[in-house]
Structures are given as structure tokens and as C-alpha cells.
Subunit: 720 residues, 2 copies
């Protein structure tokens, strides 16, 4: 590591220049239509823009595939797909058991016959697109609120149906690019028979587990190989032994020389959701209310469950997955909150909106058309913030308490059932809804622990009792009466628990199977409470939808006038459609006094290997001891590169995206962001936005040396 | 931070060269006698070696002062001393109360009259030294074991008494430089009237608390100012209003331009203890047994107390200090264990010893004289490791359980008392020992919580019950009988707790005050157990002392033959005497993928300020918002430097040491080591050994801008 002791002064010149002159290129998740507007050759791309995307021919874009909620890319003309370990994990989990523990040992098909279906996984390839904004917004000009939203939904449904009828082998979807303003229809080729080829052991694919999640330095081999199959005639087909490997029109070459710091790289993938074009009120709401409420509530739950687990192994194991999921979100949200503070995001957005309003005020025609847009949006956000606690509570209460979820669900069914007049109607209702009712009751029936249930419910009721008058929840107020302390409320919940039938799983099961009518008419203390809760929530839901409708139109106007003001087009927020992003391999300073180097190495994998979360395979230790890193050493590091950092603009959904070099060759698989880059969802930032990928050299080394998967390596095409 | 994005390849050349060519200079805590052997001008020192240390004149060494267990330096000709906040903390704590909370608000004397005595603090200045090895070892040639140790102790006592009689104003101490081999007599000038001048608020002086302890990046203002006073005639005197400020023969100039990365720096100070010259067995014992046993046991205690504290605020507060102390050690030991593993220390030492033995075997005269040294040492260490569990258990059991401590203490007194024949003897015993007995019982009387007491005792008994035959503790075995599980053992302890009088504080107090005879004869279930424990321990203690005696002689021979082998003299281990260490301001890579930059800044202080452990004064936030960092900006960082890293060889005791530049001017106050540098105690390592100092620019800024202590700043002398 001696190589990196840096003389401070010396670096100033070089680095200052580089980052200033290139900064403007790096933000943005470009839709396909916008790629041509980026000056990519100046940034460092050495191939023509048409090699990236070419609506009239073959391009790299054709090698990109949506893998469930993730991204992947084709690496051979026999449908071989590379994506992330965490994108393939649930499919490996589904075929694992005590005898064949593929999670622990990894899964490797020795040949095509041994490949196993990834049950339920559907892949998509973007075939083409067209702007359908005019058609989607047809007839909405004079509509407001819910009515406008409904009309848009109706138009979308009609267009989609028509398109799907005309394109039998494609699936058509319409995506909203700018809220209430721009809509694009995408046609996707579906691949419904996808099989597992190689998924590394979890100790490689998720090395470091929760501890390293959202963290740099990272040392994870988060990659996996799948293969797509189609019917012999090339059309999409469900799993069938007679299916044949899909021949993509394009697959990526792999460059095993990798990249160096400051090299140009780009990604094509399917980022899920960002919030770059929201009004200032949105950011204020997220910073002040949403992020902190959720992370605090989740951390409270995690703390409760961890404490329980300390003295109860059974509960510790049962709660592990839930803790993991909550921790993932809580850590992400804490990163976002840190980012909000560091970059002063809310204030920046507020100032920007003030300037925009001043600009509008200078021109009478703009003033007439847009003068009220920002004030009206602000009014809506003031209401959102005024009622934030109540609405967030309603969003969380059913997750917190399966018991409340169960009672509210039953309350709904009971109310509908009660309106039926005749015995025949009731019989028909039961026949029709039976499956749905059973499904809805599955979660509450899987309740894990009575005390957790009681304490979580009491916590939510206590929280609600603390809210101010504008956030008062009448049903809770009525229930609690003059009970104030958490202890009093917990006692009340205990009493309700004893009285309620919903906690008797046997009884519920018996009623579900044999006497659904009884379940739909039974009197229960919790169902009574939930009926009130449900009725109240419906009122607020209606208000929300009206507001969403109004905001949809206002947001469209806001973008319009912002474009007039800034004299430029904007890149739409991520929405699960195919995007291009580019930038450079780059380290960064996550905190004052620290510099995150852009590469980690096998040495670091070994260094981490002495703790709980880092169970390392013996073979990796042995290979390291023998210095057997084949010919995959990074020249400057003198070691096998494992993960790398780059300042590209990614978010969830970009998992598994190929990271390509200036020639469009695969050099890494994207799989995560650094902690400071969780703010990406709201704003890309040169200082903090870094994404993390698996270096192809580590991937190839694992395939060759650890998995002995030479047949997979041999299927790849290496660039010269 | 953009300035630090580093192009990898570029740096290789420069840095590689620098660190290789200078590496040999940087290890070592040189005694004064060795400074002249270091090629300091080649390393970068711009003043003559005689300006560092000059036995015949005035030098920088005369400005260094031992401050209790820490180090300080004189900064004015009126006895002004700078040291660490954590070195002055207990004295500020002693004068703080609810009304005058100097801990929270800081302490500042507006003038000399307002300075407050640091009660009990004695400072020392090294006046001179001489080698007394021959005198200390006189008459020991044919002695072995305990007898040799006793003779050495007797000689040391005699020499010291004679010296002290001859030097009335000096205190003489003899320090062992190489075990059983080299001894140096140091003469110290004492300063017994030391007063507080300025101690910053704890939120500056210990910013980050336990969380940031042993951590980089660090943002702590860990400095404090004291003043030494002497009698009007210049002799040492206890506090007296008529005392006058001490005029040191030398004080340091302050350089407010600070230093940059790669600059030469050095430290003079009083490092406490290192273990660089131990036999290979010593390192194996520490890695395999000592460090992991202690850190595991301490973490167990911490976990227990933290869990208790979650539901009990009173216990949470009462246990806070104990948790802090245990956590400090546990974290340090975990760092050491990581270091052992990373640098492969035990294996290196073992190989070195094998090579040495091979060298000895090549020369018959060496073989005759030293051939058995290493084998004999190994035999002793094999015994140490064989009985490690038992001996470590005995070392910890009295700390774990005040109850066992109390009963063992009383058991000792009771045994002595029982041997007395006459009433007169017994009366005399009580009169003589009364004060000691009361003192010994103070700790057990301050027991905090019954359940903790029971659980800690049960834990120790259970642990002992798990040891193998060679570590069996007979007293425990007899007590437990066939009780095996922790639950059974806990129940037994509960029963003993009920039966034992030692848990009745009122009864004990009453006996201590009014009926000591009863206490010295009372029958008690715990005293009975402790008598056996105590008797057993005495046997092991005797074995230990015999072994220490034998090892003392063997170690002297080991060093002798090692010097013959390596054809060079060694730098002795730190032993609380004045040492010189030098090196460079340097960042480093604490973990693969990370680079710790050598400076932190005020920006980082602000960034950390939103969490529990980082309570920041509003005035600092306001000054930062105004960018008011006076003229203290680091030119390359463009911000106020706060802490810095350097690769000097320091350990505990170096706290408060002045860090000086190539001209001997003060540029920082040393206060901690990085986590990876905890291994320093066993081996300095270029890759990991980094110490941490407060930049003088932050110190001056806090004095001027935060404390408004211009009169302190004005007393300093700034270099041009």
C-alpha cells in the first residue's frame, strides 16, 4: 500500500483540472433518445454513438436485458447472461435444501442439461419505443384531480391493449417520463425460460453480508450467470425441454485487462426510481419527515428484535430476514439523511424555486400561465407536511402489526359481506372471494411471537397518541380513552389480545376451511377497532388521490416553465426504463481525512476473513497463500482487483448492469452504491456519488480458480 | 476534497523511492544516549543533534517534562506547559461541580491568580543519567531465580538511597533498560506545584469520546495548558501562594505554519512500555492467550452492563465509567490482535529465533555459553501457555467480583489473625491493620448491583469449570462438586450470596467501625472458599516469581547473543524514561481500498456534529459558517487543520508529547495512535504505525476564537 502515500501539493494541479473540466458530463440517466446529445467522444468514448444505440441496426443496447427487477447483459450467442448474485439469489434459494445447499456451496451446471430453471423469472429486452404523450393526455386538458388521473389511466390502458394486440411476441408498456407530461411506449421482447448456469457461494456473492452493505471498501463477488431459452421458432416460451438457447442479436466482449483510475466507463441498465425533478416541498418532506420517521421506526424494530434474539435462538433465526430487510432500508435512509445535510439539498431546491418564481414574475405571459404553479404546489406540500405523521403512520401500521393487518382485512370483507341481501349473493361472495381471503390471512397466520405482536401494536398506538391535533387518528383516540402511558396502552393491547379470536390460528384456519361465513360475521374487538381505522383511512386516501391528481398537472407545468427558464431539456427521472450513464473510475473522500481508493484487492478479502460476517472459503485462502491469481493482476496494484468505484449515476434496478470501457467491452458488473451515494436518488453529486462494481478479473478468477468453471469462461469472447 | 483524487500509476515512482530509502530511520524510541547514533540530518533535521540533547549545555530536551503518566513541554519562561486534555482531565474533574462545570464548559484562568492547583499532580524533568548496570548486577553472577531478583532489588534500593541523599533537590530512579542486563539511573527535577491554566471543554478535548478512541479520521482538540510553580528559591515545593512560576532552562517555540505531508517531525517524551525484545514465546502467548482472553472477557462484561443499562437508567449511569475503561482496553487489544495477524508477528519472531539458534550452533564457544538459552526460555513459555487459562483467571477474578475480592482480602487477614497467640498481640494487630482493612473493604462495599455481582461470580466459576486438567482450580472444583451448567452454578452462587455476611454492607460497616475482632473471626461461606483460592494462588505466585527470576537472567543472555549475531546494539524497550523518536507526516492505508489522509480539518468537525457522541459548541458552528479560521488555514487544504498523522514510534506515556518540525519548533501535540498502530507495543511497522496529534493551528484557533484566551497565546513565542 506504500504506493499510495500522496504528496498533497503535487496532486492539486492535475486533479483539479481533470474534475472541473469533465464534471458537467457525469450526471444523468439518459434515455436512449438522449444518448446522441451527450458529447461522448470528448469524455473518452472511442466508439461511435450508434454503436451504443442504433434504432436502425445492431448496437450494444441490444445486449442489455432486464432480469426481473435487475439488469443483465448477454455474453454469448447462446443466451448467456451475467447479472448479480443478489439478483439470482432467490432462485438459488428455491432449489436449495439441506442435501443440496447451493446457497452455501454455489450452483454450477456442468453443461446445458444441468441448468435449472429460475422459477418465475422473466427477462425483457427493449425492442423499440415511441413517444405517446399526446395520445396519453388526449381529453385531459380541462380535467383536474382524480378525474384527470383516471382519464390518463384509461388512455394508457387503451393504447397498450391496441399495441399488444398488434405485436404478439412483444409486451408493450407505457412509462411516465415527466409527471403528468411525457409518456413513452416501450416494446419489450420477453424471455420466460431462464435457467441458472453459475451462482457463486453466498460467502463470495454476498461477502460481508449486512455489515458491508452500502459500504466501501467492498470485497464482494456479486455476480451470477444465467441462460435464456426460447421456443425452437425463436418466440418467447415458458420452460420446456425442447426450448433452445436464445440467440441475442448482440452480446458483449469481455476485456480482461480491466480499467484504471480515471478511465472512461459507461453503463446501460434499468434504474428503478429517482426524484430529481420534484418541487422543493418534496425534498423538505423527505428530509424532515419521511426518511427520519422510517429509519427511526425501523431501527426501533431492529433493536427490539435483536434484544429478543439475544435470549431466544428460535426468535433470533426467525427474525433474521426481517431484520436484514429493515436494516437495508434504515441504513440507506440514514445515508440519504447524511447526504441531504452535507449537500444542503433542501435549501438548494428552495432557492432554485424562488429564483424560478422571480423569473416568472418578470414576464406577464409566463405570470399568467404559471404564476400560481409554485404557490399551489407549496400549498399541497404544506398540507402533506401538516398531516405527515398521520399518513406515515397509516402507511406503516399494517406492516408493524400482522394482527392489525388481519383485522383490517377482515373488516373490509365483513363490511362488503354485510351489504349482501340474499343467501345466494352471500354464497356467491364466499365462493368468489375464498381464495383471496385465505391469501390475505396467510401473513397474520404466520405471526411469529405474541409478545412482539403486542409490543409493536402498543408502540404504534402510543406513537399515534402523541401526535398533534392535525394528525389525530380518531379510531386510536376512541380506543385509548384516557390511557396515556405506554404501560397503560400495552396493558390494553394485552387485554384485547386475550379477547380477540384473530390470535387463535387454529380457530382461524378452521373457519377459513370450513366456515367462512362465520369468519365474515364474527364479532371481534380488533375487527371493531379496525373498521373505524379503515373508514378513516379511506377518507385520507381519497384526499391523497385528489392531491396526486392536482400535483400531476402542476408538476407538468412546473417542468414546462423550468425548461423555458433554463433554456434546456431535462433528463427524466429513472422509472425502470433503459438508461445510459457514463463517467470515470474514481476514488473519493467519504469523510474528512479519508480517501476511498477506486480498487479493492484479494488482499482485502483475506484481511476481512477473521470475523463473523466474513466466512471465507479455504480454497481462496490457499490460492492467496500461493499467490495464484493467474494472469489477472491489476498492473499498478500488483494484486487481483476485486471491486471498483466509479462516479456513474445509478440507482436500484441498475444491479447487474454491465460496466463497459471506452470501447464498449465489459470490465465490471455493477452491484451497489457507496453509503454517501444513497443521496443519488435525489441528486447526483460529484463529491459523493460513487457506485460499486465487481471487476471482471475477480469474476474470471472465481470462475477459473474457485469454481472450476472453465466451460463458462470458454463461452465468453475476450477482446484483444 | 477533489484535490485528492489520485492517479495511481503516477504516484508509484515518487512514493516508492521515499519510503524505501528512509524506512530504516523511522523505528525506535531512542534513549538520550542513542540520539547521536541516528543520522538525523539525512532524514531531514535542520538543527544540530546537540540542540536536541546536550549533556553539557542547554537543549530541547530541557523543555520536555513528564506530567504524571503523560508528557508535556514548556512553552514560556514562566513555566507554561502544554499537554493533553486527557492528561489534565482528572484535575478539572476534581474542581468541577454543578455550579462550575469546568468539564463541560472548559477551564480558563484569566490571569495567574486565577490558576487552580492540579491536586496531586507531580511533574518531572530529566536532569541527568548514568549507567549503573555493573552496580545493580553486583553479586548476582551465581544467583538464580527469586534470589537473583531479590539481590537486584536490594542493590537498586541501596544505590537509589545513596543518590537521593547526595542530591536533595532531585529524585533518583533506576530503570531496567534490558531485562536482567542493563540499568540506568535517572535524576529528575520534581515540580510539585502545578496549576491549571486552560483546559478546553470536553466537547473539544475529547470530541467523539469512546467512538473515536483509537480511530482515524480524528477531530479532537486534545490539549491543555498547565503552569509549574516552585519556591521563591527555585526548589521544588508543594502548593503555596508565595511560590513563583518555574523558569525552565529551555522552552519551545511554536510554528504556526505547521507542516505538510512527508515533512520530517520528531517527538521527545516518556513512552510507557513496549515489548520489542521479548522471546518468541512471549508473542505466541500474547496472541494465542492473553489478548483474546482479556478482550473477550471485557466485551462480555460490557455486553452484560449495556444490556442492564437499557432497562435501568441508574445502573446505566453507574456503569458508564467502567464500560468506558473496559472498552478502551478491549478495543486496543482487538487492534493488537488484528496487527498480530496482519504482520504475522508470532511467526516472524519464531523464525528469527530459529535462525539465531542455528547461528549459535555454528560456533562452539557460543554453543557452550548460549546453546541452552533459547531451549530453556521455550520450556518456561511452554509452561506459561500450559497454565495460561488458570493464571489469567486468577489475574481477573478479583476485578470481576468485588465480593471475591472482599472475601479473599478478609481471608488473608483472618489467617494472619488466627496465628496470634496472645490478646495483646491481637489488640496490636487490630490497631496496626485497622486502616488497611477499611481501605481494602472500600471496593467491595461500593458494590453496585447484586445481580451483576452474582452473574459475574457465576461466570468466572463456570469458566474455571471448563478448563482442562492442567488449568484446574482445586478451590473451584471443590466448591462446585457435580454442578456443571451455568444455571446450576448461578443457583449455587445465589445461595452463597444469601448466606454470606459480606453482602450486608451495614453489617460490615458496623463491624469495621466497632467490632473488627468479630470481622477477623467471623465464619463465612465465601471466606471459606476464598481461603482455599488464596492458598492455591500463593503456590502459583511463587512459581511465577521463580520463573521470572530465571527468565530475567535468560533474557539478558538472549540479548547478548542476539547482539553478537546481528553485530549491532539494540534500542531498549520503552520503560517510562525519556525517549526520542522521529519520522514523517504520512497518511496510510488502514484497510484495503482506503487511504487515511494525514490531515483532518474543521469541515470534518462540523460533519461529525450531528450524532450523540459529537456534541459541538455553537460557537464553533458559527465560526465555521463565517469561515472565520483566522490565518490558520493549511495552504493545500484550504481549511483549518485539526489533527494529523505521522509514522513515529509512540506508545502510552507519549500522550501530550510535543511534535516538532525539522527546526525543533512545536507543530502538534501528540495524543493517540491509529487503531492499526496499537500493534506498536510489540512491533513498529511502516504500513500501520501511525500516531495522531493536534495541529498547533487548531490549538491556537481554539485559544483565540473559542476560548478568548489571547493572554495565553501572547505568552507563547512564535518562530519566524
Amino acid at each position: 500500500m506504500k504506493k499510495l502515500f500522496i504528496p498533497f501539493l503535487f496532486l492539486l494541479g492535475i486533479i483539479g483540472l481533470t474534475s472541473v473540466s469533465l464534471k458537467k458530463f457525469e450526471e444523468g440517466m439518459f434515455p436512449l433518445s438522449e444518448i446522441k446529445h451527450a458529447d461522448l467522444s470528448k469524455a473518452g468514448l472511442k466508439i461511435a454513438a450508434t454503436e451504443l444505440y442504433n434504432p436502425n441496426g445492431i448496437s450494444i443496447t441490444d445486449a442489455i436485458v432486464r432480469v426481473g427487477g435487475c439488469t443483465g447483459s448477454f455474453l454469448s450467442n447462446e443466451g448467456l447472461i451475467v447479472t448479480n448474485h443478489h439478483c439470482a439469489f432467490s432462485f438459488v434459494q428455491a432449489i436449495s435444501n439441506v442435501k443440496n445447499d447451493y446457497i452455501k456451496n454455489g450452483f454450477l451446471a456442468g453443461n446445458k442439461e444441468q441448468e435449472v430453471p429460475a422459477q418465475g423469472l422473466v427477462c425483457k429486452i427493449t425492442a423499440s419505443y415511441r413517444d405517446v404523450s399526446l395520445e396519453v393526455l388526449e381529453g385531459t386538458k380541462n380535467l383536474i384531480g382524480i378525474e384527470r388521473l383516471s382519464k390518463i389511466a384509461t388512455n394508457i390502458k387503451a393504447i397498450t391493449q391496441k399495441e399488444n394486440a398488434a405485436n404478439k411476441d412483444l409486451q408493450c408498456e407505457i412509462s411516465e417520463m415527466f409527471t403528468g407530461k411525457t409518456y413513452v411506449l416501450f416494446r419489450y421482447k420477453l424471455l420466460k425460460d431462464v435457467r441458472l448456469v453459475y451462482v457463486p457461494p453466498v460467502s463470495i456473492g454476498a461477502y460481508g453480508g449486512e455489515l458491508d452493505n452500502w459500504v466501501w471498501p467492498r470485497h464482494s463477488g456479486d455476480f451470477a450467470f444465467l441462460r435464456a431459452y426460447v421456443a425452437p421458432d425463436g418466440t418467447a416460451a415458458d420452460f420446456n425441454k425442447n426450448n433452445v438457447p436464445y440467440k441475442p442479436v448482440k452480446f458483449l466482449e469481455v476485456n480482461k485487462n480491466g480499467v484504471d483510475e480515471n478511465d472512461f466507463v459507461f453503463i446501460l441498465g434499468y434504474p428503478g426510481r429517482t426524484y430529481r425533478h420534484q418541487p422543493a416541498g418534496f425534498y423538505a418532506y423527505h428530509e424532515k419527515y419521511f426518511l427520519s420517521y422510517i429509519s427511526t421506526l425501523y431501527n426501533w424494530q431492529i433493536g427490539y428484535m435483536e434484544q429478543l434474539g439475544k435470549s431466544n435462538d428460535e426468535l433470533r433465526i426467525k427474525y433474521a430476514a426481517r431484520i436484514k430487510s429493515l436494516a437495508n432500508t434504515a441504513k440507506n435512509f440514514e445515508g440519504k439523511l447524511q447526504g441531504f445535510k452535507r449537500v444542503g439539498l433542501s435549501a438548494t431546491k428552495q432557492n432554485e424555486e424562488k429564483e424560478l418564481q422571480q423569473f416568472i414574475a418578470t414576464q406577464p405571459d409566463l405570470m399568467e400561465k404559471y404564476g400560481q404553479v409554485i404557490p399551489q404546489i407549496n400549498t399541497h406540500y404544506n398540507t402533506i407536511m401538516k398531516n405527515a405523521m398521520r399518513n406515515m403512520w397509516f402507511d406503516q401500521v399494517f406492516n408493524m402489526s400482522p394482527w392489525i393487518f388481519a383485522s383490517a382485512t377482515l373488516a373490509g370483507y365483513q363490511q362488503n359481506y354485510a351489504t349482501l341481501k340474499t343467501a345466494a349473493e352471500r354464497k356467491s361472495f364466499i365462493e368468489t372471494e375464498q381464495a383471496q381471503i385465505k391469501k390475505a390471512m396467510a401473513k397474520p397466520l404466520a405471526m411469529i411471537d405474541k409478545n412482539t405482536e403486542i409490543d409493536f401494536t402498543a408502540k404504534m398506538l402510543f406513537d399515534a397518541s402523541q401526535y398533534d391535533a392535525t394528525n389525530e387518528i380518531a379510531a386510536v383516540k376512541n380506543l385509548l380513552g384516557n390511557k396515556k402511558t405506554l404501560q397503560e396502552i400495552t396493558n390494553l393491547v394485552k387485554l384485547m389480545y386475550q379477547k380477540s379470536k384473530l390470535n387463535n390460528a387454529d380457530l382461524i384456519k378452521q373457519m377459513l376451511e370450513n366456515d367462512l361465513q362465520k369468519l365474515l360475521t364474527t364479532k371481534d374487538v380488533m375487527i371493531d377497532f379496525s373498521k373505524q381505522l379503515y373508514a378513516e383511512m379511506k377518507v385520507y386516501d381519497k384526499e391523497d388521490m385528489e392531491r396526486d391528481g392536482a400535483l400531476s398537472k402542476l408538476m407538468a407545468q412546473l417542468i414546462e416553465v423550468k425548461q423555458t427558464w433554463q433554456q434546456r431539456n431535462f433528463i427524466p427521472d429513472a422509472n425502470g426504463t433503459l438508461r445510459f450513464t457514463y463517467g470515470f473510475v474514481k476514488g473519493y473522500s467519504p469523510n474528512d481525512g479519508l480517501y476511498a481508493k477506486p480498487f479493492t484487492t484479494l488482499k482485502g478479502v483475506i484481511e476481512k476473513s477473521d470475523t463473523m460476517e466474513f466466512q471465507l472459503l479455504d480454497i481462496i485462502k490457499q490460492l492467496y497463500a500461493k499467490k495464484d491469481i493467474a494472469d489477472f493482476a491489476h498492473p499498478a496494484l500488483g494484486d487481483l482487483p476485486v471491486n471498483l468505484l466509479y462516479n456513474l449515476d445509478t440507482t436500484g434496478g441498475n444491479s447487474g448492469s454491465p460496466v463497459m470501457n471506452k470501447k464498449g467491452q465489459l470490465i465490471a458488473i455493477n452491484f451497489d452504491r457507496a453509503f454517501t451515494a444513497t443521496i443519488n436518488d435525489y441528486a447526483w453529486n460529484e463529491a459523493y456519488s460513487r457506485s460499486v462494481g465487481v471487476d471482471v478479473r475477480y469474476m474470471l478468477w472465481v470462475l477459473q480458480k474457485v469454481a472450476g468453471a472453465n466451460h463458462v469462461v470458454n463461452e465468453l469472447t475476450f477482446s484483444q
